[in-house]
């Protein structure tokens, strides 16, 4: 039950985009068509599901106080270790996608390597570290659930945004508000809508 709760919470209540603004840059830039948004969302969810547990293991067995050597606290290294794991993993995914699905590779273009610096990925790992400290994630399984849930939350947000922006092409918007301006305001309104989920407990 707790695990299911964590899953629901990471998708809807603590949504990466609406509650924490993570991954806003690619969220605004890639949400012009639903198809690319779907592809990028899938890639982010995949990377997130893999890197959060990886970083969880590193955090538990290498970085935490007294984990590696008695009396040594390596937690100040967590930023650099997390980003190295993420960058290496994204490189791997890039090579695999290029080999097996060149069409998706061409579609995602520059945004595939940019997943490495997508704040949603790094943010997911850093939040995981905080939640371990708060006792909300207690084993590898729960870190997988959190990674998957937060990835899906981001995916959901970018696809919804892309769908709205495709419709938006037919509406009359003040010239100065076109593009990013209206995108921010829509995201804000969607965030207010997502606030109704807060407090849901299973």
């Amino acid at each position: 039950m707790e695990t299911l709760n964590l899953f629901i919470r990471s998708i809807f209540i603590d949504n990466m985009v609406f509650a924490f603004f993570f991954g806003m840059c690619s969220y605004i830039a890639v949400s012009k068509s639903v198809k690319t948004a779907l592809g990028l969302g899938l890639a982010v969810t995949f990377v997130q599901t893999m890197t959060v547990p990886l970083n969880y293991l590193l955090n538990e067995y290498v970085l935490a106080p007294n984990a590696l050597v008695e009396g040594v606290d390596l937690s100040f290294l967590s930023f650099i270790v997390f980003i190295a794991v993420i960058a290496a993993f994204v490189q791997l995914v890039e090579m695999i996608v290029e080999k097996f699905s060149p069409s998706l590779y061409n579609q995602l273009g520059i945004f595939l390597p940019l997943i490495a610096v997508n704040c949603a990925i790094m943010g997911g790992s850093l939040f995981m570290q905080q939640m371990v400290g708060a006792g909300e994630i207690r084993n590898v399984g729960e870190s997988v659930v959190y990674g998957l849930g937060s990835g899906i939350g981001w995916w959901l947000a970018i696809v919804m945004m892309a769908a709205i922006r495709e419709r938006l092409a037919y509406s009359h918007i003040p010239a100065a508000l076109k593009g990013p301006g209206i995108a921010f305001i829509i995201t804000g309104l969607m965030g207010i809508a997502f606030m109704i989920f807060s407090g849901i407990q299973l």
Binding site: I83, V117, C119, Q130, P174, L177, I185, G188
Partner: protein, 207 residues
Amino acid sequence: MASKSLKNLTAPLSGNNPVIVQILGICSALAVTVQLKPAIVMGLSVMVVTAFANLVMSILRKGVPSRIRIIVQLVVIASLVILVDQVLKAFVYDVSKQLSVYVGLIITNCIVMGRVEAFALQNKPWDSFLDGIGNGAGYGLILVIVAFFRELLGSGSLFGFPIFEKLGLYELGYANCGLMLFPPMALIIIGCIIWVHRSINKDLQEK
């Protein structure tokens, strides 16, 4: 200072602002804008990291093969962010607690990577350093504007000083807008800043 260097420093403040024109670095920014103090600390941290990351990468630009440049950049940036994080923890612990994971997220802040990729790899160290300072300042400026409105309208204070209470507005029936403290309002304020900015600078408008 030569006029070109000066331009590197001032262009990012408005015409080429990293947040509202280049749409970079929104990720780690908006959650820290509930109050002015953390917003200013965050702006300064990003400025320091951007400036020194630009400087270091500009010095290294001839020695780093382009295939592995991303990972080199990440290592340089991450080391700088660890330094900033330790300094914040040592000197302004309460603000550092408030910023929580967002300090670590400076690593993945697109402004830092973006400026290194777009500027520092093609330019001399001094110009790159100024470009970093300018972009960090442009980012900080937007944070401060957003934080000003959110703190003033949301909690009726500035830097924690209860300004509306002193003016006696509450006795006249004024109430704080609690919605301002929630994340979505930061996005809407940014949207409005872009709206105003593009109404003034018509050349930035999209067709």
